[in-house]
């Protein structure tokens, strides 16, 4: 009987997660990620080392690849292909925007890719998809840090100095990260049901960069300026850029409304993921 007291009874029922509320789903996933924190670290480090093992340049690729698109835009700016915008040097404007774009796009793509490619492995190993997603987010964070270093170098070289309010950037970005991660998780589940979803999303993310105020401002380009007002990418990129380089958030009202909706959407999508995680296992 003493053994019995020290052991936990695990109960497996169909859709027992359906009964969980949004809060308990979020709590459960936070606990799951916390319990697997050392495993997430090991898996991140293992995949980081293994990603380019056997190649001539090895681990160097992990640093070089995230910089390739930024370097191209920087080079084009140096050639004066892009002018200065809103008083900010063209190279800084674009590389800052592109860094945010890749961060937001990654927040959408990573959950989708993990749910698609690892759900069979997750079924076989019982390793939670949430932990796999977080280990890949760590990779995204690393890529973003590498890009930010390059952006800082460009800022210094072009002397487009940010304002002190720029320190609020992480807080400004927070609702965006919640929104796009929520979208990624929701679309990841939907993609298991309807295979076309990932293809459509890839197309949108491939070309969306040109209509989201990343490379040039959209507020004076007719129909795009109307689209700008409802495009969350454009709203968050504009808000982030303006807080860093102007010290205020342009279109504060749009930003606050979108942020509020972002938190609500994130909560709903996290619960949906929590409920559906075991249901999508093993389905290609």
């Amino acid at each position: 009987m003493s053994v019995r007291k020290s052991q936990q009874i695990h109960i497996i029922r169909p859709d027992s997660r359906m009964r969980e509320s949004i809060l308990s789903a979020i709590r459960h996933l936070i606990n799951e990620i916390w319990n697997y924190r050392s495993h997430i670290r090991i898996i991140f480090k293992g995949r980081f080392r293994a990603a380019y093992s056997g190649t001539g340049l090895g681990i160097f690729w992990n640093y070089a690849l995230p910089l390739v698109p930024l370097t191209v835009y920087w080079f084009l700016s140096v050639l004066r292909v892009f002018p200065n915008f809103e008083g900010v040097d063209g190279a800084t404007f674009i590389t800052f925007g592109v860094t945010l774009w890749f961060l937001f796009a990654g927040c959408i793509q990573i959950p989708m890719q993990v749910i698609q490619s690892r759900n069979k492995e997750s079924m076989k190993t019982n390793f939670p998809l949430s932990a796999s997603i977080v280990s890949e987010f760590a990779r995204l964070l690393f890529d973003t840090m590498v890009r930010i270093i390059l952006v800082l170098i460009i800022i210094v070289s072009t002397q487009s100095w940010p304002t002190t309010q720029g320190l609020l950037l992480p807080f400004t970005l927070l609702p965006a990260l919640f929104l796009f991660a929520g979208i990624g998780v929701m679309l990841g589940i939907l993609n298991v049901i309807y295979n076309d979803v990932s293809r459509v999303v890839n197309i949108i993310l491939q070309y969306g960069i040109f209509v989201s105020g990343v490379i040039f401002p959209l507020y004076d380009i007719g129909i795009l300026s109307a689209f700008n007002a409802i495009n969350p990418f454009a709203i968050f990129i504009d808000a982030s850029r303006s807080i860093v380089f102007q010290g205020v958030i342009n279109n504060l009202q749009d930003y606050l409304v979108t942020s509020g909706l972002a938190f609500i959407f994130f909560a709903v999508s996290i619960r949906t993921f929590f409920v559906m995680e075991y249901r999508v296992r093993g389905i290609n």
């Binding site: 090991i42 079924m123 390793f127 949906t272 296992r281």
Partner: protein
């Protein structure tokens, strides 16, 4: 939820739905997705859609610590699905599973391996995926290395391992966990003979504190390990109980109620004849003088004549005659030397005679093949004329009649 006092695993009316058509799987998933989004509970499926079937249908059993349950059944009967459901890898569609403590599943041993990473790194990765802490993995690291017997290869990428080495590493990582319920799916064919014995020994050790659910097609392993055996057929539990009885139920399923001709054809399969290798071949059952015969009495002398002329010179000619009773039970096999083989020249006729001085078979009909091999290569495998044996008229049991006597000892 309370469990029975001494139970570590309770399976309560568990069913699992599958579909052969992806579209119906996705439709059902879409319904569950809508329910999840709306916060409505999804109802268990009542009516099956096109292509859907119950891969597990109302499974019930209880397992105590130290007990081993074997699961047998034909391919597609739901054995692996049952293990995956017990392991929590898949959710049931009906019923409930209660596990006291931790369950570890040895189903896909190499799942989760990073092929480009070293064996050593994979011990950490795989251990992490099994939910083990870094300290726990470090504590058992040397033990895993010893058990896997990989030596210096542990630092090489696992992509360079042979399948045997990979399985040894995977098995070693798994057995270092100390589960309360161990779910094993046909994996005791890992590595070479001596490594298999080590695996058996480790599993036997684990029996002291764990319950087992063991899926296998090896009836000898099932008999060796299991206290009870469950027979699954098309997802339904058709028997649970004594291993010997379960195996006979399973054997009955392998040869279902088919007429004797079909049963006989099934037993004698596969049939083969390589025309290009033979100039002439004739074979038949006969008496000691070489005259063709089909009917013999128990205890009589039995012979089999083979007249052969090959179109090439074989390196190691071997004759084999496996014999089955009419209901498909393998009785015995007669063979020429398998070590050196018979030496014959091409384009020459040879006659060989098999002699069985005293037929031990009881009354009945016996079916057989004549296999002619050159080493491992089959040249021919063809059915012989059915052999009829008339009994001695007295009491006979089983398939063979072995001379015996009982005597009183002082």
């Amino acid at each position: 939820m309370l469990m029975q006092l001494d139970a570590v695993l309770e399976v309560d009316h568990v069913s699992k739905l599958y579909s052969r058509e992806q579209i119906s799987t996705r439709k059902r998933l879409a319904t569950t997705f809508t329910c999840a989004l709306m916060g409505r509970p999804s109802r268990p499926p009542k009516k099956l859609k096109s292509g859907e079937f119950w891969s597990l249908d109302d499974i019930n059993f209880t397992l105590k610590s130290g007990e081993a349950l074997g699961v047998i059944g034909l391919n597609g009967s739901g054995k692996t699905t049952l293990l995956r459901t017990l392991a929590g890898q898949l959710l049931p569609d009906k019923g409930e599973i209660r596990i006291l403590g931790d369950a570890v599943a040895m189903i896909d041993l190499t799942a989760g391996f990073q092929m480009s990473a070293s064996g050593s790194r994979n011990i950490h990765l795989r251990g992490a995926m099994l939910g083990r802490s870094k300290e726990d993995i470090e504590a058992t690291y040397d033990e895993i290395l010893d058990f896997a017997e990989l030596g210096d290869a542990i630092n090489a990428p696992v992509s360079t391992y042979s399948s045997g080495m990979l399985m040894r590493l995977a098995f070693s990582i798994m057995v270092m966990a100390k589960p309360d319920v161990l779910l094993i799916d046909e994996i005791l064919s890992v590595g070479d003979f001596s490594f298999r014995q080590k695996c058996f020994a480790r599993i036997r050790e684990m029996r002291a504190h764990a319950a087992f659910v063991f899926v296998s097609h090896s009836m000898s392993n099932i008999k060796l390990f299991c206290d009870r055996v469950m027979v699954l057929n098309k997802g339904k539990m058709v028997f649970i109980g004594d291993p010997e009885e379960a195996i006979s139920v399973y054997e009955g399923m392998k040869f279902p109620e088919i007429d004797s001709v079909e049963k006989r054809n099934e037993t004698l399969k596969p049939q083969y004849f390589d025309k290009s290798k033979f100039n002439f071949l004739e074979s038949y059952w006969c008496d000691a003088e070489g005259s063709k015969r089909q009917v013999f009495s128990t205890g009589e002398s039995l012979s089999f004549k083979i007249i052969i002329n090959l179109a090439y010179t074989p390196r190691k000619l071997i004759f084999g005659i496996p014999v089955w009773s009419e209901d498909g039970c393998y009785v015995t096999g007669f063979t020429s030397s398998r070590v050196n083989g018979l030496k014959i020249e091409k384009n020459r006729k040879y006659t060989f005679l098999l002699t069985v001085p005293n037929i031990p078979f009881t009354e009945g009909k016996y079916i057989s093949n004549l296999s002619i091999n050159d080493g491992l290569e089959f040249l021919s495998r063809q059915e012989n004329v059915c052999l009829s044996v008339t009994g001695l008229g007295g009491e006979e049991w089983g398939i063979v009649n072995i001379k015996h006597s009982f005597s009183e000892q002082e």
